[in-house]
Symmetry: C2
Subunit: 443 residues, 2 copies
């Protein structure tokens, strides 16, 4: 008979939940393209034979979350009945099992619904792994030997940009003074910026009020949604610049609204208010388009939240298409693929400023940003992680922000666990929150 092993539990089952929050009712999250998001998550719980669970999620905008839920259920067969160590001993091989299923792969490969589902499942495995080691995820990673990090990464299709050997050398070379960097983070936290002031659907008065509140709370970097009527964009941008003054940073996000040539023109027009970056000026798939925009404007170009895998990030870097690399903890295939992108970004000397917000993205990316600083980039220059102040109350170990910085999370795991009440109240379509909203919102 097998005996219980608390550090290497067996995964006995996987529960998958369709969780949705009716954020569209308050225009939270509205931008030039995403008019009415209901922030949602396809959420999974790895149940084990020990007193520990793994929680993972992928972020969605409402309708269609059920597709990710179905895909996670399908992939769940690849973890059910297995010991954790059979996944974590060779994480790269395990992630390839998920991305290379010979029939499922056709639906991507490594993009869209099936990749979002892969992210949720891998995130749950990492959460479980960190919990069994009794460490927050950032510390689990930072305590790894460089070889262990490398073994977690699927290098397929990126070896022309970075080989495992190069990546290993980079990690070894940057290992010194890690304790000093950790002490600095413990003192100040990891720098963040706020997107909560400038959603598309907010009135000028509300934007003004939120800027003032933000300044009082210690924020120094503010992001504004653009991509609407040019005169409106400029008025709102001047308004924010007027409120935050000339030295604080103002970033802009067009959320993929423009054609390439339009993006060049519009970005150059908005340059008057000195944007620190222009984010997603056009299609997230348009590597060459971003490269051309970057060449023809005076503003730094940021992208990545819709960049669907490491192969696309590789090319954005090779093509000189990005100044700011915005990884997403739930669109890339979990922690593993994010590690690949962190290493490429370090090699190409591009700062990583993770995308966050939504449901749980802030909780996740803080770990990745902290690990990046401790072991990969070893720099905070031009690095800030997005923060959006919504829905954190639903998390068991929510992010904490002090003076515009993320405070280092201390609880074991990946901070992905959602409170058990919320799993009931916001489950879709049968949770009480949705029953109450009724047929109108359910559409």
């Amino acid at each position: 008979m097998e005996k219980l092993n608390l550090s290497d539990p067996k995964i006995t089952d996987i529960r998958v939940i369709d969780l949705r929050f009716p954020t569209s009712l308050q225009q939270i999250g509205s931008d030039a393209v995403n008019k009415d998001p209901d922030y949602s998550a396809a959420y999974c719980i790895l149940e084990t034979d020990a007193r520990v669970e793994g929680h993972g999620l992928t972020f969605t905008l409402g309708r269609g979350t059920e597709l990710c839920v179905s895909a996670i259920r399908y992939l769940g067969r690849l973890v059910r009945g297995r010991r954790l160590s059979s996944l974590t001993d060779d994480m790269a091989a395990f992630s390839r099992e998920l991305t290379r299923d010979s029939q499922f792969r056709w639906l991507g490969p490594e993009k869209g619904v099936v990749h979002l589902a892969t992210a949720a499942l891998l995130n749950a495995v990492w959460d479980l792994y960190a919990r069994t080691q009794k460490k927050p995820l950032w510390k689990l990673l930072a305590d790894f030997e460089p070889e262990q990090i490398i073994r977690s990464i699927d290098f397929s299709y990126i070896t022309d940009a970075i080989t495992p050997g190069e990546a290993l050398a980079l990690l070894k070379e940057r290992a010194s003074c890690k304790e000093a960097r950790l002490a600095a983070l413990e003192r100040h936290g990891y720098p963040a910026y706020t997107t909560s002031v400038g959603w598309f659907g907010f009135s000028d008065d509300k934007v003004r009020r939120l800027c003032r509140e933000g300044l009082r709370q210690g924020w120094t970097h503010f992001k504004l949604k653009v991509g609407g009527d040019p005169a409106d964009d400029l008025r709102r941008a001047r308004l924010v610049r007027g409120e935050i003054g000339p030295t604080n940073k103002l970033m802009m996000d067009a959320n993929q609204k423009w054609e390439v040539e339009e993006a060049i023109q519009r970005t150059n027009e908005l340059a008057e208010v000195d944007p620190w970056w222009m984010e997603e000026p056009t299609s997230p798939d348009d590597i060459l388009g971003h490269a051309r925009i970057r060449r023809e404007v005076s503003v730094r170009i940021a992208t990545g939240e819709h960049c669907h895998n490491r192969v696309m990030f590789k090319q954005l870097m090779q093509a000189g298409a990005m100044d700011v690399c915005q990884i997403d903890s739930c669109r890339l295939a979990g922690v593993n693929e994010n590690l690949a992108v962190l290493l490429m970004a370090a090699k190409f000397e591009i700062p990583v400023c993770p995308h966050a917000g939504g449901v749980g993205l802030c909780e996740c990316v803080q770990h990745l940003a902290i690990f990046d600083y401790l072991c990969v980039s070893t720099s905070l220059e031009n690095r800030v992680t997005e923060f959006v102040d919504h829905l954190h109350e639903h998390f068991v170990d929510p992010v904490r922000i002090v003076n515009g910085h993320y405070v280092l999370p201390q609880q074991p795991g990946y901070s992905t666990e959602i409170r058990s009440e919320t799993l009931v109240t916001h489950s879709y379509p049968d949770g009480p929150v949705w029953k109450e909203i009724g047929d109108h919102a359910r559409e």
Copy 2:
């Protein structure tokens, strides 16, 4: 009371069916990456208030087809209850309704499961449209005024490569002598090549026998799957070259197996047998990788069957990454997005050789290739459409091949209709074919 209108029916409902064929049992369709496909389709039928239906599908490999089925059901709400003309009067706007749903879009955008589903639905609308006009799809398109073609295309994110004005001018300039081209196609058919001889799982003897049969049937272009052990690849390639002689064309398909540098080396090694093209040497997302491979080998580079939207095709062309453009009727968003790619290919002077095989791809792409010759490329030079001889017996109007050429389809529609018996026998998981195979195949 509204009256019945046979040329402009109202769509009353949409039926969606998960259809799967147990092709993995015979290693049909096996290649270096896809080891055991069960050729499948997420299939939809637009029912109307008139005596006409629209049939559309997207091709899949078995597991996961249910995700596309769910996504089509979701998108179906955008056609139910509408008159056909409300979709076809502005096809570009209608396709944007499907691709830009403000919440669903997050799951792509325009890629993966949601885009495959969009393809199935748009294909069904085009089938219905052609049936109401009593024309095969190729003729419906060829009879359009150039302005109507342009109105069918969503040019967003590609205007830096081709504007609607440029595309219109190109179509107008190439309209002359269309009748002569049609007469030539009616005489000879549209040139095709066969992939049926060289699947990965076939023995050398079987490959040899199939080559001989192919030659007897009039084939002049043969495709072989590579990407296995280098010595095996070379042995099989020499075998096929030996059978088909020095003047017939031998194409190779690596199905995304290699890293960029590996692809360069392997392709150069295989150059000895004079391949007419090397297909999918690496990740389908790797535009810059394909461009580099193309620069560093002496063999022409083909790709596209996994290219997920017009933005990716645009870049493959802009980057000089492809010699042969392999559109897919079911991965791009239906006829509309394929029209966009045909026009870009014409502008960049890249021959289009559609990907086919699977379930129904041959039936679809013949229409696109014929239209391309009649109205867009106006050339047959270096142009052949893939043909794979499986599963045609399930179609009401199957492709006909004579002497290595597709015979022009004559029945109204897009040739997408599957026989009603098949819809019952092969429905998954409850059709009798799958009941018989039982739990083993069902996993």
